[in-house]
């Protein structure tokens, strides 16, 4: 190019080109300076990283708070095997080994269809109940607080399989008598590293209730949360307040306290609760034992996860 210049430098065209180039050269240094500035601070890299910081993670350690659900879903392609026990009343004393002699049990399988949809099935020993649910994320809290809350819908249904009661002649026992339905919203916010709070309004429908005076629909407001004690241990609390005028006879509100302890592939949840059921229809609307007269129960949930579908990065 320089050779070319030498040859034609006296032509008018070239003089014009050179003037143009001089003009460009005036612009060049600032341009180079600007680009050097960006690279010095790594600012555009930082901006890219900020844009990546999106959804808040680990609001709770697992998909259950204590008895009820948390806004956490089972990850896509992951199967979670849940083993849950609620033992007898602690005031059973030595004779009942403080309740440990008797237990109600739920075995469950939860599967993450996508990161926002979990489906689950379970079988409880109390009234030999089968349950199924689906849980869908509607809103997800973001780290930048653009979305301050997470919102999840839970829909569940269950059916008992104990033998039909003996009925007077002429009366029929319908299959539908065995059915229960649950609609619940989970609204949660992870305030910081150590504190997450959740509200959980819930509607439970009982197809059959004991007396004509009792409502078929129980409405309750749940509130709960967790405080992180260490990286691997949290303290949880959960309370379901049944709205007055909408509860079954002889029932009380469910109150539970517990710890989540995480070890490698397991999460252990150990707790004390006055509820013995592990489906919404039992612990929200059919809790009968009371904390203040020894009616508390020790219980645990153990979660073991299995990766069914390998994430695409590892295929």
């Amino acid at each position: 190019m320089k050779n070319n210049d030498a040859r034609v430098s006296h032509t008018i065209t070239m003089q014009y080109t050179i003037k143009l180039l001089m003009l460009v050269s005036l612009l060049l240094p600032p341009a180079a300076y600007v680009s050097a500035q960006i690279s010095d601070g790594g600012e555009d890299i930082a901006e890219t990283l900020e844009a990546q910081r999106d959804y808040t993670t680990a609001t709770f350690k697992t998909t259950r708070l204590i008895n009820g659900h948390s806004i956490e879903n089972t990850a896509a392609g992951v199967l979670d095997f849940k083993i849950s026990h609620r033992f007898g009343r602690i005031d059973g004393g030595l004779q009942e080994w403080f309740g440990l002699d008797g237990a109600t049990i739920r075995l469950g399988l939860d599967y993450g269809v996508t990161d926002w949809l979990t489906v689950g099935i379970g079988r409880s020993s109390f009234q030999k109940e089968y349950d199924g649910y689906l849980k869908a994320k509607i809103l997800r809290q973001t780290d930048d607080n653009h979305m301050p809350l997470s919102l999840t819908y839970l829909g569940a249904m269950s059916v008992t399989s104990i033998p039909a009661p003996a009925l007077p002649a002429g009366q029929e026992w319908h299959f539908s008598n065995r059915l229960f339905y649950v609609n619940q919203l989970l609204i949660a916010r992870k305030f910081n590293q150590w504190l997450s709070v959740q509200l959980m309004p819930v509607h439970v429908h009982y197809n059959l209730v004991d007396t004509r005076a009792e409502p078929n629909d129980v409405l309750a407001m749940g509130i709960g949360g967790r405080v992180k004690i260490s990286n691997r241990v949290t303290f949880n609390a959960e309370y379901y307040y049944q709205l007055p005028g909408n509860q079954l006879n002889g029932t009380v509100n469910s109150l539970s306290f517990g710890f989540d302890i995480e070890t490698g592939g397991h999460v252990f949840q150990l707790h004390f609760t006055n509820s013995t059921g592990m489906t919404e229809r039992t612990f929200v609307g059919q809790t009968i034992d009371q904390w203040n007269n020894g009616g508390m129960h020790f219980g645990f949930n153990i979660s073991r996860v299995f990766t069914i579908v390998t994430p695409k990065e590892f295929r």
Partner: protein, 180 residues
């Protein structure tokens, strides 16, 4: 003649504009090998910038962008080990020290060293990482494999899982840098 000098100056200035190479989809993976289990994680979201004039080289990534085979492991990695909420980024900031031996105009593979500071989990350490710059089709691919020890970065491994997590973790970097 003075025009010729001007043109030479301009020609010298021009490459200054074309010296920035960068990526936002750099691949960084690590591998922990023990007799009990092997753990692997990969991120395809590392950002990097190389100034081919000065040799200044920066890599930044969000620790949360690492993907694991097991989702629970990923959560534990962020919650318990890297504490990603407190220390969201991992950063290398330094220099390619022997860039003068790399001919960017010519395709080829050049062994180089990156000297600088590696920061993660809130701990900064001076490191020298040997790697390669591969020039092809006007892009520079930077690759390196090096060892990082969790203990050096104050990443605590509880005794219960000490057999599952290697004391020396092998980190692999693969960045395809495009001219800006």
């Amino acid at each position: 003649m003075r025009y010729t000098i001007l043109i030479i100056i301009i020609l010298l200035a021009l490459p200054a504009l074309a010296q920035q190479y960068s990526t936002r989809t750099g691949k960084i993976s690590f591998f922990s090998e023990t007799p009990v289990e092997n753990i692997q994680a990969v991120s395809n979201q590392a950002s990097a910038e190389l100034d081919a004039g000065t040799g200044k080289f920066t890599i930044q990534m969000l620790v949360k962008s690492f993907r694991f085979k097991k989702k629970l492991m990923e959560e534990h990695f962020n919650e318990n080990y890297m504490e990603s909420d407190r220390y969201p980024k991992a950063v290398f900031d330094g220099q390619i020290t022997d860039l003068s031996e790399v001919t960017l105009a010519k395709d080829g593979s050049y062994p180089v060293k990156a000297k600088g500071t590696l920061t993660m989990h809130g701990v900064s350490r001076d490191v020298i990482i040997p790697g390669k710059l591969i020039v092809a089709d006007g892009n520079i691919t930077a690759t390196a494999t090096f060892i990082a020890k969790p203990a050096d970065y104050k990443i605590k491994v509880p005794s219960l899982v000490r057999k599952n997590i290697a004391e020396e973790i092998s980190v692999t970097v693969n960045l395809i840098l495009h001219e800006k």
